[in-house]
C-alpha cells in the first residue's frame, strides 16, 4: 500500500493546523474524504440531480439509477446477498433505532430478554433500554473480561431461550477490540434470538462478509468509511424485514393510500419514507469503490500494523495508561496521561497540529467500567502512517513536559 499516493487523494490532509502539518488521528469519529467521493457528490448535483422513483424524465431516471446503483454496491461490499436487504438510513444510530423500535418492540414482551454489552456506544445501548422499558423485556449485559474483551463462556451464560435480541458492537470505539461476532451469532441463533451488529467501526476497517457471519441485522455509517455524512445503511434478513412495520410514514414508502387505511411498498422502500439521501448514497457508492480499489485486506493489514505500533509506543511511555486488550485490536488506541485531563491533552496536541478525540466517546457506562470519567483516543485510517504516530508521541512528550512545569 503506497501511503503517499493515498494521502495525495485526500485534499484536507494537506494543510497546516496551528503552524504544524495536520496529523489527523480522529477517523473513528469521522473519516476524511478522498477526491473521488467529493467529485462524485458534486457531479451528481451538477449533472444528474432529481428526485428518485417518480417522474418520467431523464434526470429522474439517472438519479434513480445512481441511488439504486449505490444500494447494489453496498450489498456487494458487505456480501449481503439480495439487494433489497439494504435499507439506506441517516447512519448507524438511525439503523439501530429502526431495529429497536420496529422489530424489538413488536417481538419482545414480559419475560423476554434483550442482551447487549457494557462496551456499547450509546446508540447501541439507549434504543435497547427504551425498547426494554416499552415492552417489559429485561435488559441483560454480557460481562467484560478484565482486559475489556468478551469471553464465549460468558456469552453462553448470558443468552438464554428467553433472549429475543442480542446486539453487540463488532469493533469497540473505545477498546479497539474486535468481538467474536460469528460465535456470538451462533449462540444467539441456538437460543432462538436474532443477532444485531453495530458495524460503525468495523465496516471501514475490516472486510465484512455477512453471509459468513450470518447476523440478522448489521448497521453502519458512511462518514466513517470515506463517505459523506448523513448516509448509512441497515442490512436485515429479508424474512425479518418483511414482517417489520415501518416507523416513518410518508411519501415513497406507500403502496396505496386511502382516507382511512394505507398499505406499504415492498422492502426496502417501506423503510425509506420521504425523499431519500440520494447524493449521500452516491457518495457512499464512490467511497466503496475507493476502498475496494485500495483493498480491504490491505487496509486491515496496514491498520493492524499501525495500531500495534501505536500500542507499543504509547504503552512503553512512562506516565501513560492504555486501555483495552493488546491482542485483536484494530484502528485505535485509547489512553490517559497521568495527572493531566484528556481535554488538556487534546488541547496541547491540537496546538502541535495533532487531532485526537477526548471525552467519554458516547460510552458513559464503559467509562465507569474503566473507572475513568473520560479518555483521549488516537484512531487511524488508511491515510495514516508511522510518522503520524511518531508525531503523536513527540507531542505527548511535550504535553507531559508542559504540564509537568505548569503543575509541578
Amino acid at each position: 500500500m503506497n501511503i503517499n499516493a493515498i494521502r495525495e487523494q485526500f485534499p484536507i490532509l494537506h494543510q497546516e493546523i496551528n503552524g504544524h502539518p495536520l496529523v489527523y488521528l480522529d477517523s473513528a469519529a469521522s473519516s476524511q474524504k478522498p477526491r473521488s467521493v467529493i467529485d462524485a457528490v458534486n457531479r451528481y448535483y451538477e449533472l444528474n440531480n432529481a428526485n428518485v422513483h417518480r417522474g418520467v424524465h431523464t434526470l429522474g431516471s439517472r438519479a434513480t439509477d445512481a441511488y439504486e446503483g449505490a444500494r447494489e454496491k453496498v450489498a456487494k461490499f458487505l456480501n449481503a446477498g439480495a439487494t433489497e436487504q439494504i435499507i439506506f438510513t441517516r447512519g448507524t444510530t438511525t439503523a439501530l433505532n429502526l431495529v429497536a423500535s420496529s422489530y424489538a418492540r413488536s417481538e419482545c414482551g414480559e419475560g423476554d430478554e434483550i442482551v447487549i454489552t457494557p462496551m456499547e456506544h450509546h446508540s447501541n445501548l439507549i434504543p435497547w433500554q427504551q425498547a426494554a422499558k416499552a415492552t417489559g423485556a429485561t435488559l441483560k449485559y454480557i460481562p467484560l473480561q478484565p482486559d475489556g474483551s468478551i469471553s464465549i463462556e460468558d456469552v453462553e451464560k448470558t443468552i438464554t431461550p428467553q433472549t429475543k435480541v442480542v446486539s453487540v458492537t463488532h469493533l469497540s470505539n473505545v477498546l479497539g477490540v474486535v468481538n467474536p461476532i460469528k460465535e456470538i451469532t451462533q449462540i444467539a441463533h441456538r437460543n432462538g434470538a436474532v443477532m444485531v451488529v453495530d458495524g460503525a467501526q468495523s465496516a471501514p476497517h475490516i472486510k465484512i462478509d455477512l453471509k459468513d457471519l450470518d447476523v440478522d441485522f448489521f448497521a453502519f455509517s458512511g462518514h466513517k468509511m470515506c463517505g459523506p455524512t448523513g448516509i448509512g445503511a441497515l442490512y436485515g434478513k429479508k424474512a425479518l424485514l418483511n414482517k417489520m412495520e415501518p416507523i416513518e410514514y410518508g411519501g415513497e414508502m406507500i403502496d396505496f393510500v386511502d382516507l382511512y387505511e394505507s398499505t406499504w411498498k415492498e422492502i426496502p422502500y417501506r423503510f425509506e419514507g420521504g425523499t431519500p439521501i440520494i447524493a449521500g448514497a452516491v457518495g457512499l457508492g464512490a467511497a466503496i469503490d475507493f476502498l475496494k480499489e485500495v483493498g480491504l485486506d490491505e487496509i486491515d493489514k496496514h491498520e493492524r500494523r499501525l495500531t500495534s505500533y501505536a500500542y507499543e509506543k504509547l504503552s512503553s511511555m512512562e506516565g501513560i495508561t492504555v486501555y483495552g486488550p493488546k491482542q485483536n485490536r484494530v484502528g485505535l488506541v485509547t489512553f490517559n496521561l497521568d495527572d493531566v485531563h484528556p481535554h488538556d491533552v487534546a488541547t496541547v496536541l491540537d496546538s502541535k497540529g495533532v487531532a485526537v478525540r477526548a471525552g467519554h466517546h458516547c460510552c458513559q457506562p464503559l467509562m465507569r467500567w474503566l473507572n475513568v470519567s473520560s479518555t483521549a483516543r488516537a484512531s487511524f485510517y488508511l491515510y495514516n502512517s508511522e510518522d503520524d504516530i511518531d508525531r503523536l508521541v513527540d507531542a505527548l512528550l511535550q504535553t507531559k513536559e508542559f504540564f509537568g512545569h505548569a503543575i509541578g
Partner: protein, 141 residues
C-alpha cells in the same frame, strides 16, 4: 495559538490547589451539573442566608479549565448577594465572548480570558458558573 494564553500560572495554581473543594452540610443548596459532551461534572453547594451566598464548596471531575474555574468562582461569590453573584456570572459570560471585563473582587478570574481563543474549551470554563446560576434561580422560584 499560544498555549500559555490558556494555561496561565494562576489557573494551574487553582487546578493544583483548588479552593473550596469539599462539601457543605445537608441544608445547603446542591446543584449537580454535567457537561454531556465531555463527561465533566460538578456538584456545587451553596450556603444561603437571607439572599446571600455565605459559603460555597464544589466537588467533581474535570479538566484544568473547568476545575480551576470552579475554584475561582466559589472564592469570588462567597459573601455576595444573589444579585451580585448573578452580575458576576454575566461578567464571566462576557469574558468568554472576548469582551474586556474587570473583576475587582477576584482578578484571578481574568486569567481565564484566554479561553475565548479556544472555542472548544469555553464550555469547560462556564460549567461552574452555570451551576451557580441554576442554584440561584432555583432559590428565586
Amino acid at each position: 495559538m499560544q498555549l500559555d494564553d490558556l494555561y496561565r500560572r494562576v489557573i494551574m495554581d487553582h487546578y493544583k490547589n483548588p479552593r473550596n473543594r469539599g462539601t457543605l452540610n445537608e441544608e445547603s443548596v446542591t446543584i449537580n451539573l454535567n457537561n454531556p459532551t465531555c463527561g465533566d461534572r460538578i456538584s456545587l453547594q451553596l450556603q444561603v442566608v437571607d439572599g446571600k451566598v455565605t459559603d460555597a464548596k464544589f466537588s467533581g471531575e474535570g479538566c484544568s479549565i473547568s476545575m480551576s474555574s470552579a475554584s475561582m468562582m466559589t472564592e469570588a461569590v462567597k459573601g455576595k448577594s444573589f444579585d451580585e453573584a448573578l452580575t458576576m456570572a454575566d461578567k464571566f459570560s462576557a469574558l468568554m465572548k472576548g469582551e474586556p471585563v474587570e473583576f475587582e473582587e477576584l482578578e484571578d478570574i481574568e486569567a481565564l480570558s484566554g479561553v475565548n481563543k479556544f472555542p472548544a474549551r469555553i464550555k469547560c470554563a462556564t460549567l461552574a458558573w452555570n451551576a451557580l446560576r441554576k442554584g440561584i434561580e432555583h432559590q428565586h422560584e
